[in-house]
């Protein structure tokens, strides 16, 4: 027993010595590490490291980011905007539009199956419609002016010439910056106007999503006044609108947000959200105004045909079927919405 104990302690001591022999040469490095570089400072290396990491120095010039010598993020932003945002967003928009053209060619306009009943149900109040068309007008302006600023260099300069496009782009920038403020108002109004109807109801809405709204075959899945797709669009507008508003305000007022990093981030958020919302907007336009018989008049006249309601929003129809009227209820009182969008009889 004793010898085994001896061997153990001998081996232990030798291992300890070995470890010390190996570790001792590292001591100065450890010391230097603790002292933060120690006595081997290299002013040149330190300088370039600071410059590279965009650690700001001091400058007599009072300007935005004046102390920063090199900001490498500018190049990342350039690559994002020129090599990702511009081509990919164009591909996404073309893809979505292309899919709908294809869908229209294959499926055609989806008719009211039972035909028009000639009897009507109120669907949206005048206030609902005003808010909708106010948002629509502001959104269209923002979308078009924004896309001009993104694609104009390739699409419009060959057509308008440099001076002509400069004037166009200056106008678009001005219009975009101003109507952006109205957009914030529109998002807030829309949020309060439609929130009650747009809350997801898991049972109904999950089935709607699973069956893709019935657009790819099968009959319309059940839905309340607002179907799950419309709810998703509402939340895309509200959440996307909030992101667009916050990032847009940062970009709109350089007096308050000045650092390049913040502006680059704001631009990233603004454009990614915009691409998503615009793509979704194409879906909305197709389903609301082109692809479905009897849908658009809900937003223009405020009423829908009873058969349309029964087929597309069956749960809502059950709630309101005792309010079916024989003539469009406020035929004379909807001029407000009709001004915003000419009456379209589908």
């Amino acid at each position: 027993m004793q010898t085994i104990g001896h061997y153990r302690s001998m081996i232990g001591v030798m291992l300890l010595l070995l470890a010390m022999v190996m570790l001792v040469p590292l001591a100065p490095y450890a010391l230097a590490y603790v002292q933060g570089g120690g006595g081997v400072a290299n002013p040149g290396a330190d300088l370039w490291r600071d410059v590279r990491q965009a650690i700001p120095g001091d400058s007599q010039v009072q300007g935005v980011d004046a102390g920063t010598l090199i900001s490498a993020r500018g190049e990342q932003w350039r690559q994002y905007r020129m090599e990702k945002l511009a081509p990919y967003s164009a591909a996404i928009f073309a893809g979505v539009i292309g899919l709908f053209v294809l869908y229209f060619l294959i499926r055609g306009r989806i008719r009211i199956m039972a035909g028009r009943s000639g009897r009507f149900i109120r669907r949206y109040t005048v206030a609902d419609r005003w808010i909708h068309w106010f948002m629509a007008a502001v959104f269209l302006i923002l979308m078009l002016t924004g896309l001009v600023l993104l694609y104009g260099r390739w699409v419009l300069i060959p057509w308008l010439g440099p001076e002509g496009f400069s004037a166009t782009a200056a106008f678009c920038k001005w219009a975009h910056n101003l109507s952006g403020l109205l957009f914030i108002l529109a998002v807030v109004l829309m949020f309060f106007a439609y929130l009650r109807e747009a809350r997801f109801k898991f049972k109904v809405d999950s089935v709607w999503f699973l069956r893709a709204g019935g657009y790819l075959g099968g009959k319309h899945p059940s839905s309340g006044k607002i179907n799950a797709g419309q709810k998703a669009w509402f939340w895309a507008v509200v959440i996307g609108g909030a992101l667009l508003s916050v990032s847009g305000l940062a970009l709109d007022f350089p007096a308050f947000v000045q650092s390049r990093e913040l502006l680059q981030d704001a631009h990233l958020v603004h454009t990614l959200t915009a691409v998503f919302v615009i793509a979704f907007f194409f879906v909305h336009i197709y389903l609301g105004a082109i692809g479905m018989e009897g849908s658009l008049e809900a937003m223009t006249r405020g009423t829908v045909d009873a058969n349309w309601a029964r087929e597309q929003h069956d749960l809502w129809y059950e709630e309101v079927k005792d309010q079916v009227e024989d003539a469009p209820p406020d035929a004379g009182a909807v001029s407000a919405a009709d001004v915003a969008s000419p009456r379209t009889d589908a």
Binding site: V61, L69, S71, P162, S166, A169, P254, A255
Partner: protein, 210 residues
């Protein structure tokens, strides 16, 4: 044909701001706009260095690439210029530029950007050389008069050198050889080294290059 470049020797710059003053005076630059600035790193500490920086007139200029109205152009001398009649003051060149060169006079409410202003390498703009319109918008066109940018001409220690890239590099190489120390010029990798280097934020000491 020359390829105009700036070179700043950080071993020589003494932060006198003579280049900044010369630039403002020669080009009649309004308040709030500084085409050139001197940045001091580690001010008051060992290893303190000062660097004068303006538009470096990059080979593959990010400002020119991102401009939504395509208002930039490059002269035969490699100088990156822009047309203020086309500029819409969107600020994208300022987002993209690694050197913080583009400047914007405040032009209206909430700091709305006016037309961009930046170093022209004392080469004016698209108007006829040395015309009143050119001077009013872009400042002096010294290159057209056969002179180099005034910031470099004024530099008391010749830390800032401007001119054809080959000549400038030769002068600098000779300096480095005599003083026997590593080079402390800066910015050439970012400005003239292409996009890969710029994306990685890699800069270099020019002593080993060009």
């Amino acid at each position: 044909m020359a390829r105009m470049k700036f070179l700043l020797d950080a071993k020589r710059c003494i932060e006198c701001n003579g280049c900044v003053t010369a630039c403002k005076n020669e080009n009649n630059i309004p308040w709030g706009v500084n085409r050139r600035r001197v940045v001091t790193i580690d001010d008051g500490s060992p290893g303190e260095r000062s660097i004068s920086v303006a538009c470096m007139h990059c080979s593959d200029a990010p400002c020119k690439a991102v401009c939504p109205v395509d208002c930039f152009y490059v002269t035969d001398d490699g100088v990156v210029l822009h047309d203020k009649d086309i500029c819409i003051g969107c600020g994208y060149c300022f987002f993209a530029c690694p050197f913080g060169a583009p400047q914007f006079p405040k032009d209206g409410a909430f700091g709305d950007r006016g037309k961009m202003d930046k170093c022209t390498f004392c080469a004016g703009g698209p108007e006829p050389d040395n015309s009143a319109a050119e001077y009013q918008k872009y400042g002096r066109n010294r290159l057209a008069e056969g002179k180099l940018p005034l910031c470099a001409e004024m530099c008391a220690t010749k830390a800032l050198i401007a001119g054809d890239g080959d000549t400038v590099a030769d002068i600098y190489r000779e300096r480095v050889a005599y003083r026997g120390a590593a080079g402390l010029s800066w910015g050439w990798g970012t400005a003239y080294g292409g996009r890969q280097r710029r994306a990685r934020g890699v800069d270099n000491k020019t002593s080993s290059q060009d």
